[in-house]
Amino acid sequence: MSTRNAKPDVLQGTLDLMVLRTLEAMGPQHGFGLAKRIQQISAGALELNQGTLYPALLRLEQRGWISSSWGASDKNRRAKFYELTRTGRKQIARETDDWERTVALMDRFLRVAE
């Protein structure tokens, strides 16, 4: 018996969007660069285990939103680079819409509660 799929992860959706947006802003990037950048932007507000990034990257790649290839880093070290695909770009627009709608909705609820 397994329940590993049953746990919904709130962070998952947001992490996906963060990765996609970061790639959109920075262009091709390796895992470490992405992790660093996300932490910089969140300005310490996000306690991110860097390791969780990799399953997320795999998931995005499986969905066809990003692609990966091995290349050389700025310090001339072999590293795996991630890049946004065309469908990934479309997905950013879609998820941004969703996200904004959710935020607006929650916003309304929070106001009513006051």
Binding site: R4, H30, F32, A35, N49, Q50
Partner: protein, 893 residues
């Protein structure tokens, strides 16, 4: 979809992916450590910090792997292995369920294999669905037609893109030049466009064209089937241009047909093809029917139009041939012929014509058997579900969803079904062999029934279907419980037990109802077969062996007679042989010979000649088949030399032509029917009883027996030997004798007379045997079902029964209480099943001989059998109920 693909491919490159991930992580850690070192940390600390920030490495890898793999496949595998463990833990349950299913699935697979081979499998040719058979009916025989009719249809290119003809595939002598014994192959004569219209290509060499089929006897060419080329000539490419002796003629090989093509007949495969013009006999005569006409229809012309046009073409053709005789009986008969446009994409099959309907009925019967088996397994599963309530409740409390548990159950059901179908396939293969034994040897040359991809797909399909059928309801039931309550009472009691027991009882009622249908059908078919068996064929079939002889083509009638006389003389001298003779057509050879006669003094033939059956027989023919003449005598050796024409007639003859005559001997008849009083007289010397020569279902016609040598019957007689020897010993004695006289003469179709009688009713025997088997199977399964439900209900009611006994109920009364419950279920099932079986009887009416589809005795017997079996099945639980110890029962509560 793409995701799934990536995940699936990932399954196969597991190790490399793992390495890549490790490398990626290593790069990450190294980059971070380098940063930290720049900030002044020592290498060890930098490395440790990088690891800390990264988080649980193994956890991440695990998550990554899960994501990468195909979770549902893994879950499925887990569910399956869990299910298998469960099945292993409960071997009695598993065995009962798998066996029930295997019998049901096996029976379905076996019958379906036949249906598939005979009725579904398309010919391996181009667009087989366009092919039609122009099937002739009426007049002489059925199916095959004449060469001129083929030419007529060929003109109609508005209906067909191509019309071709073929003879049946016949056994002929073959000599590859290196064998001493007589060897045979299956030869088929085909029109020049045969391969072209079918769209069959050569494997090597070339195939026939119309140029190869222009002039009678002028195209000594042959095309080989691929199988023949492989099996007999070892795929020798030098075969092209070689000359083979086929049917005692030399034919030059011009090509080999594509692999897999054996001709257009299902049960008879051709080894060789020769041009139609090479066929012997009056092949161009419009009255000579020897060609199956087939055509490729135009896709844009509807079938109804083809049929209408074929009717017109046939009428015009018949008028052009027989128009002048349209006033005579013969002309009317000939003009009544019709053409039936039949689908031929699945090939031509005479076996299908005889056997198609019985197969369809058997298919329905095995469908019912499978339903009954499914009901049994569902019942077992429900009982098991009750026993597993605690486990289910536990898993619910641990957070499993209902869907998850239902899926687990269905997977278990599927496992059962798959195990059942594997065992069922074994049963099916055995069953197919058994069924093939019923077929007469002449029914097909290389007729094979074996599970192919379609059959395996069918088996898999029905096993999945039955898994859902028997698995879903129990799964939904077992998982619809209140976990808290179930855990508390330890699964001992049933929630909503009324509904649950009701469902199980409904299943049993259904089983009984379906069993009634199968048992009644079995009864009807058995009754029908018994009726056929009780028919007196007019001869004594015991200890009579029959066989035919195949002579070299060059032999004339006199040569054959000389050989026959020598053989008879030689055999008669052997010990154990009581009597020996010959006759044409002879008994049960599927042939008849007719002639028109006049009987002087008979009003029946006063105006015109009347057709009778003619038999050409040797001396002691009647003695050999155990028939004593009622009046006069049969032919003797002396008659072979007599010039006076003599005959023996049967009782039907006397009834028709000489009514009221006690003793017809001395009366005359004449085969010259030109004058009312006949021409040259034939003297009647004997009277025999009616003998059914053509089959048990064919009533005896007026028959005139004449000495074989004096008859103009063109085919060779069947030899008959009455002997006290076992058939095998007799056969080897005959072969020995034959070899001594002339090794060029071959013995063909040896069969005891009893076997020939059996062969003539093989469909009846097969359907009676199989439906009897399926009926018994249904009864057994239903009995198990009844027993299961009653036993379960007694267990459940132990406390109540204990209380009743404690309060003074007599054990007999308790037993009756349980028995009555069982009888009620059976009565209900019978009430539902009876109308169903009456309907089933009506559907199979055409297969019944001498018994009405609503035969009351069969139905009364069916009800009695079901009640009997039901009482037996319920008796055990009833006795157990009566033996309940009140104290025990109450304490248990």
């Amino acid at each position: 979809m793409r995701t799934l693909w990536k995940r699936l491919t990932a399954l196969f490159s597991q190790r490399q992916r793992d390495r890549e991930l490790s490398e990626e992580v290593e790069v990450h850690l190294e980059m971070r450590a380098a940063e930290l070192r720049q900030q002044g940390l020592d290498p060890g600390a930098a490395r440790a910090a990088a690891r800390r920030e990264f988080g649980g490495l193994e956890q991440m890898k695990e998550a990554y792997r899960d994501r990468r793999g195909v979770p549902w496949i893994e879950i499925l595998a887990k569910d399956a292995s869990y299910g298998l463990r469960g099945l292993r833990r409960n071997p009695a349950f598993t065995l009962a369920a798998v066996l029930s299913l295997a019998l049901g699935i096996g029976a379905n697979t076996a019958i379906f294999s036949f249906v598939n081979t005979l009725m579904l499998r398309m010919l391996p040719v181009e667009k087989p669905e366009q092919l039609v058979n122009l099937y002739r009916t009426g007049g002489w025989g059925k199916g095959y037609a004449s060469y001129p009719l083929y030419l007529e249809f060929r003109k109609h290119t508005d209906l067909f893109t191509g019309v071709f003809g073929r003879s049946g595939a016949d056994k002929v002598r073959f000599d590859a030049g290196h064998s001493n014994s007589v060897d045979y192959v299956q030869l088929e004569y085909v029109t020049g466009n045969y391969f072209d219209v079918l769209g069959v290509r050569p494997a090597i060499g070339r195939l026939f064209t119309d140029e190869d089929n222009r002039t009678p006897q002028a195209h000594p060419l042959v095309v080989l089937s691929y199988d023949f080329w492989r099996n007999r000539l070892a795929l020798d490419p030098a075969v092209l241009g070689r000359v083979l002796s086929v049917d005692e003629r030399l034919l030059t090989v011009i090509g080999v047909a594509a692999p897999g093509f054996h001709g257009v007949e299902v049960e008879t495969h051709a080894d060789l093809w020769a041009p139609a013009m090479m066929c012997r006999g009056e092949i161009l005569q419009p009255g000579m029917h020897w060609l199956w006409i087939m055509a490729r229809g135009r896709p844009d012309v509807p079938r109804s139009r083809v049929q209408a046009a074929a009717n017109t073409i046939m009428q015009q053709f018949l008028m052009s041939v027989y128009g002048g005789q349209r006033e005579s009986a013969f002309g009317k008969w000939a003009l009544a012929q019709k053409i039936e446009v039949r689908d031929a994409g699945v090939g031509i099959s005479m076996l299908r014509d005889a056997f198609g309907k019985p197969l369809t009925i058997l298919m329905a019967a095995v469908g019912l058997v499978l339903l009954i088996a499914c009901a049994n397994v569902a019942n077992l599963l429900i009982a098991r579900g009750a026993a597993r309530r605690r486990e289910i409740a536990m898993r619910f409390s641990l957070g499993a969803t209902r869907w998850r548990l239902v899926r687990q159950w269905l997977i278990e059901s599927l496992l059962l079904a798959l195990l059942g179908s594997v065992l069922g396939l074994a049963f099916a293969i055995w069953g197919e062999r058994y069924m093939l034994l019923f077929l007469p040897p002449g029914a097909g040359e290389r007729f094979e029934v074996a599970p192919d991809a379609t059959v395996l797909g069918f088996t898999l399909g029905i096993s999945i279907l039955s898994a859902v059928l028997f698995g879903l309801a129990p799964a939904l039931r077992a998982t619809s419980l209140d976990p808290a309550a179930a855990l508390k009472d330890g699964g001992a009691r049933q929630p909503g037990r009324g509904a649950r027991a009701g469902f199980r009882k409904a299943l049993v009622v259904m089983q009984v109802a379906l069993s009634v249908v199968l048992v009644a059908a079995a009864g009807l078919f058995a009754h029908s077969l018994a009726g056929l068996r009780s028919i007196n064929p007019g001869f004594a079939a015991q200890n009579v062996a029959t066989f035919s002889l195949d002579y070299p083509r060059a032999w004339k009638g006199a040569d054959k007679q000389k050989h026959r006389d020598r053989l008879l003389e030689g055999l008669a001298a052997l010990p154990g042989i009581a009597s020996i003779s010959y006759g044409a057509p002879g008994p049960y050879r599927g042939g008849s010979w007719s002639a028109e006669i006049r009987v002087p003094g008979s009003t029946r033939t006063a105006r015109e000649g009347v057709e009778i059956d003619e038999q050409g027989v040797g001396p002691a023919y009647f003695e050999t088949i155990g028939v004593r003449p009622l009046m006069g005598r049969e032919f003797s050796q002396a008659d072979l030399r007599a010039t006076r024409k003599i005959a023996v007639v049967n009782e039907a003859f006397v009834r028709e032509f000489l009514p009221g005559t006690q003793d017809p001997t001395g009366r005359i008849l004449s085969f010259d029917d030109s004058k009312p009083e006949g021409g040259e007289p034939t003297y009647i010397v004997g009277l025999v009883r009616d003998i059914l020569h053509e089959g048990l279902k064919t009533p005896a016609k007026s028959t005139v027996y004449v000495p074989y040598h004096a008859a103009d019957i063109t085919f060779d007689p069947t030899l008959l030997v009455r002997a006290q020897l076992p058939p095998a010993a007799l056969l080897s004695a005959i072969r020995r004798e034959l070899g001594q006289i002339d090794p060029e003469v071959a013995l063909v179709e040896p069969r005891t007379l009893r076997e020939r009688v059996d062969d003539s009713i093989f469909v009846d025997r097969m359907i009676a045997t199989l439906s009897g088997f399926f009926g018994a199977l249904a009864l057994l399964l239903a009995a198990i079902g009844i027993y299961g439900v009653m036993a379960y209900s007694v267990t459940r009611r132990t406390a109540e029964i204990g209380l009743r006994i404690a309060l003074g109920a007599a054990p007999a009364k308790i037993a009756w209480m349980v028995l009555r419950d069982g009888l009620l279920l059976i009565a209900l099932g019978v009430a539902i099943g009876l109308p169903l079986s009456l309907a089933a009887g009506r559907i199979s009416a055409s297969l019944l001989y001498g018994v009405k589809p609503n035969d009351p005795s069969t139905f009364i017997l069916t009800i009695a059998v079901l009640l009997g079996v039901g009482v037996l099945a319920a008796l055990l639980p009833a006795r157990r109920a009566a033996a309940v110890e009140p104290i025990e029962a109450l304490r248990h509560e």
